[in-house]
């Protein structure tokens, strides 16, 4: 068990190192790139140079670089991301609600995509080489190839033509909901199109990952051995093949989270979903550096942490790591 402890320690140490690299990277990315965030404000005819000086001080841009860096690390660790240049309030005030909204979309979409992917991947691997497999693999590759934003637009076209689902936003704004049910259904109605879009584009890759993982496992000797013991195919699938095939899925899912986030940004922009992707998009246009920095930081750190969790989970589930 102590070696397991060592392993954990190593993973956590790596995560801390990664987070440190991300913070550093984040800092320099925004300082060394051309342009100063205050410059966009120059276009305001009402702004005087005295005010620009005030803003520079307010955003800490007049300090020497190393001090800015030190402050940035310290503040990032404390969850203090500074003041948004555009919204003129604490970054966390705009960031956290967006993050929450993104999770409302991302969590069910990823979960659904994974579950569906596992299901169809399993069928495809099971019927390997048949028409069913060809269809499932082919359609997964096709879904994987579809540009997210285009799929979203197609769904918008459909929804408008059939006036079925709302195509924008997260809930009907300003609606005096008479009770929680109505409100929840309003949210769900708004969730349908973005959820379908995101699930479909994520689903393809999970199917293929699952299929290939399962095909590898089905070739293993212990599968044939189980068969020679008189096990039914269903039993083998459930007891022997799936657990071994799902195991690598855990880390692959975590590694693929970066892609997932990318898909989420495009989906949010297309459907006007007020999540972190839309916030990033808006902040790019407003050149709101502090928000961008914090958004990048928080997404990257979340993914690093997800990877650590996946590693730990993996090692917990896989006795080969746990006890060696």
């Amino acid at each position: 068990m102590s070696e397991f402890g060592n392993y954990l320690l190593k993973r956590v140490a790596f995560a801390i190192l990664s987070i440190f690299i991300i913070i550093t990277f984040d800092f320099f990315l925004f300082r060394l790139m051309p342009g100063n965030p205050i410059e966009i404000l120059y276009r305001n005819p009402a702004l005087t140079s005295a005010q620009i000086a005030v803003l520079n001080r307010q955003f800490g841009l007049n300090l020497p670089l190393y001090q800015q860096y030190y402050l940035f690390i310290w503040n990032s660790l404390l969850g203090n991301y500074g003041i948004s240049i555009y919204y003129r309030t604490a970054v966390s005030q705009v960031l956290y609600p967006s993050l929450e909204n993104s999770l409302v979309l991302l969590v069910p979409a990823t979960t659904l995509a994974i579950l569906l992917g596992i299901m169809t991947g399993r069928i495809a691997a099971w019927r390997r080489g048949t028409v069913t497999d060809g269809f499932l693999t082919g359609s997964s590759m096709a879904l994987y190839s579809i540009p997210t934003f285009w799929l979203g637009e197609m769904l918008i076209l459909l929804a408008i033509a059939s006036s079925s689902f709302p195509v924008s936003g997260m809930y009907t704004i300003g609606e005096g909901f008479s009770n929680g049910f109505v409100q929840l259904f309003d949210l769900l109605r708004h969730l349908v199109l973005p959820l379908v879009t995101l699930t479909l584009v994520l689903y393809g890759q999970f199917t293929i990952i699952m299929r290939n993982s399962l095909i590898d496992v089905l070739d293993e000797d212990y599968i044939s051995f189980a068969r020679s013991k008189g096990a039914t195919e269903r039993y083998i699938m459930r007891k022997h093949a799936m657990p071994n095939a799902e195991l690598p899925m855990i880390s692959l899912i975590a590694v693929n989270l970066g892609l997932t986030v990318g898909g989420a940004i495009l989906t949010e922009v297309v459907f006007n979903w007020p999540g972190i992707g839309l916030l990033i998009y808006d902040s790019i246009n407003a050149r709101d550096y502090p928000v961008l920095q914090a958004a990048f930081l928080i997404v990257a750190i979340a993914i690093v942490l997800a990877n650590v969790v996946a590693d730990v989970l993996y090692s917990y589930l896989d006795p080969r790591i746990r006890y060696s």
């Binding site: 410059e39 140079s49 919204y87 069910p108 579950l115 936003g169 300003g174 922009v269 407003a286 050149r287």
Partner: protein, 595 residues
């Protein structure tokens, strides 16, 4: 042995729980909104207005430079005076009368004695003094508008005396909002977002509406202020919601679906879709948006030096077929410009030097300036100095596809006279980074919102002190021009101010740091259930800056709410519960069987 199943299953369960809790959190946020909304629901009808482009940045009127914020604040706070619908005449607002003394450079405002804040506290001169002092602070974004004021003094509770330098007093008197000192003195005005997100009372204002809810990036909601003291302007509608959209597409689809009732910024190409539809009305108004081609003329600037040659700039101006661009890009919904002030501005001067589309004149201007030889690519170069080539890059905001299209056509225009124009579309942030502080660009195609129609404020863009870290994107410097501006600020009569600003506009028209291009019409579409729409303001009824849209507007027939059939939801809810319960039972049963 089944650990893995358990883990997978618990991941799923956690995910579902997370979704549910998120939904609940989202609900509770929305819930607070709906409570305030329903509490006043009886006072009138709700209309929703869409907005896309620049969002609300902050609701603090001293810190915001978003148009939408200005529009909202206009309905929430009163300035001392305001304009009538034609935007020409000063009319009473918070001040019911005023005495101007040009000799002493003072104006004495007499506040309306019945003026009262929405929380019942009377509006006093202390509020005015507080607001004007705050506006003058370093951090304030409206500081330049009050820079002509040397002092603000309360003479009694209902009288304020302001000492100012010139005739342009309306510039500040009509645009500085008076905020409640008794509320604002408890916050730090330099960081205050303009609302208190924790309390139920968001705003205290004295306008026809009060702000009741605001969710950044999503919407802001205002409701009729029952205590509004100008009874004749008491709104008939109860609630206005400003909904923010990322794109024209999502806003227009919401309009078509009936979930918003008014929208500005409809693209010319889409007008036809609404004109034939009885459910909508379309209005086109002159816009306050003003497109220009800025040319880097700064003597030390890092742009192409040939642009400092006036003949080259004149040739460019003659080569641009603005009418064609207005027809092609804006399908006729745009007017071409000749001044750096938009025609709707009170100080617009109409007798200016203009540059008609005339490619042959453009060619001869270039020939006379010595750009007579061509590179192999057909680009003109200086016969005596072949390093001087007429090849430029123009920066265009990538966010506005029409501007990019216009720039592309301009490139075609210029290629006819041997000038190569390279169109580079960028985010406005990247453009800003190229332009300030070093002026490394050749040209930029950008826009201003000439939103202070009562003052020639855009003329300040060309002042020498705006060059390095100011608003100037052309790098134009001219001491004569600077002196005229100083004279303008100290003018003692409207006519004198007009004449000086006309002189300044003519200087710019001759020297061409900007080539004014066009002002696209503001196209507004609104539901035909809305009546009594005032569209005389530049920008149209839903284009911002219009105080009267919501005070006059009447909803003809109750706008049918989006079919929220409660029974249906109950049925659906019941079905969902049954399904979840059945699934849960099935899962439990299966586990038992396995064990």
């Amino acid at each position: 042995m089944q650990k893995q199943r358990v883990v997978f299953r618990s991941i799923l369960i956690v995910a579902i729980m997370l979704l549910a809790s998120m939904a609940v959190i989202g609900q509770s946020a929305a819930g607070s909104a709906s409570q305030t909304a329903t509490s006043n629901a009886t006072t009138g009808q709700t209309i929703k207005v869409g907005w896309f482009g620049t969002y609300i940045d902050t609701l603090n009127p001293f810190l915001s430079y978003s148009e939408l914020t200005a529009w909202i604040n206009m309905n929430v706070y009163l300035p001392l005076v305001s304009y009538d619908a034609g935007n020409k005449t000063i009319v009473p607002a918070l001040a019911s009368s005023w005495d101007i003394n040009y000799a002493n450079h003072t104006v004495i405002f007499h506040l309306n004695p019945s003026a009262v804040w929405s929380d019942g506290v009377p509006v006093t001169s202390a509020d005015v003094v507080y607001s004007y002092n705050t506006a003058a602070q370093n951090y304030s974004f409206v500081a330049s508008e009050v820079s002509a004021i040397s002092s603000v003094k309360a003479i009694g509770t209902e009288t304020v005396m302001v000492t100012f330098s010139g005739v342009l007093w309306t510039m500040w008197a009509a645009s500085i909002f008076v905020v409640p000192a008794h509320v604002w003195s408890t916050v730090n005005a330099s960081t205050y977002a303009g609302y208190n997100s924790t309390g139920s009372q968001y705003f205290v204002g004295d306008g026809p509406f009060v702000l009741t809810n605001y969710v950044p990036n999503q919407y802001a909601q205002i409701e009729k202020n029952a205590k509004f003291f100008i009874r004749s302007e008491m709104p008939t509608i109860g609630t206005v919601i400003f909904e923010e959209f990322t794109s024209q597409s999502s806003a227009v689809s919401s309009l078509q679906a009936g979930s918003i009732q008014g929208l500005t910024g409809i693209l010319p190409a889409d007008v036809a879709n609404f004109q034939g539809n009885a459910k909508f009305n379309v209005t086109t108004s002159p816009s306050i948006e003003y497109f220009y081609l800025s040319i880097n003329v700064a003597p030390y600037g890092k742009g192409n030096p040939t642009l400092r040659n006036l003949s080259v700039r004149q040739a460019i101006a003659h080569a641009l077929n603005l009418t064609y661009i207005a027809d092609t890009v804006y399908h006729g919904y745009a007017t071409t410009l000749d001044s750096v002030l938009s025609p709707t501005n009170q100080y617009y001067w109409s007798n200016l030097t203009t540059y008609a589309y005339n490619p042959s004149l453009a060619n001869s201007l270039l020939n006379q300036s010595g750009f007579t030889t061509y590179t192999s690519g057909g680009i003109r170069e200086n016969a005596n100095n072949t390093s001087q080539q007429l090849s430029y890059t123009v920066l265009v905001p990538s966010g506005d596809s029409l501007e990019v299209d216009a720039a592309n056509i301009m490139a075609t225009n210029l290629s006819k006279i041997g000038i190569k124009l390279n169109v580079q579309a960028e985010t406005t942030g990247s453009m800003a980074a190229t332009i300030w502080p070093n002026l490394t660009q050749d040209m930029d195609l950008w826009d201003w919102f000439d939103n202070i129609q009562s003052a020639p404020q855009l003329l300040s863009v060309f002042l020498s002190n705006q060059v390095v870290t100011g608003t100037s994107d052309s790098g134009y410097t001219n001491t004569t021009y600077d002196n005229l501006w100083a004279k303008l600020l100290n003018a003692t009569s409207q006519a004198q101010a007009m004449a000086i600003s006309g002189q300044m506009q003519e200087m710019l028209a001759q020297q061409l740091p900007y080539i004014p291009l066009f002002s696209p019409s503001a196209i507004n579409v609104y539901s035909s259930t809305l009546t009594n729409i005032s569209s005389s303001y530049p920008g149209g009824p839903f284009g911002g800056l219009d105080y009267q849209t919501f005070t006059q507007l009447v909803v003809k027939s109750p706008s049918s709410p989006p079919s929220n059939n409660n029974t249906l939801y109950y049925i659906l809810g019941g079905v969902a519960v049954v399904i979840v319960a059945a699934a849960a039972v099935a899962v439990v049963a299966m586990r038992r069987r396995k064990a």
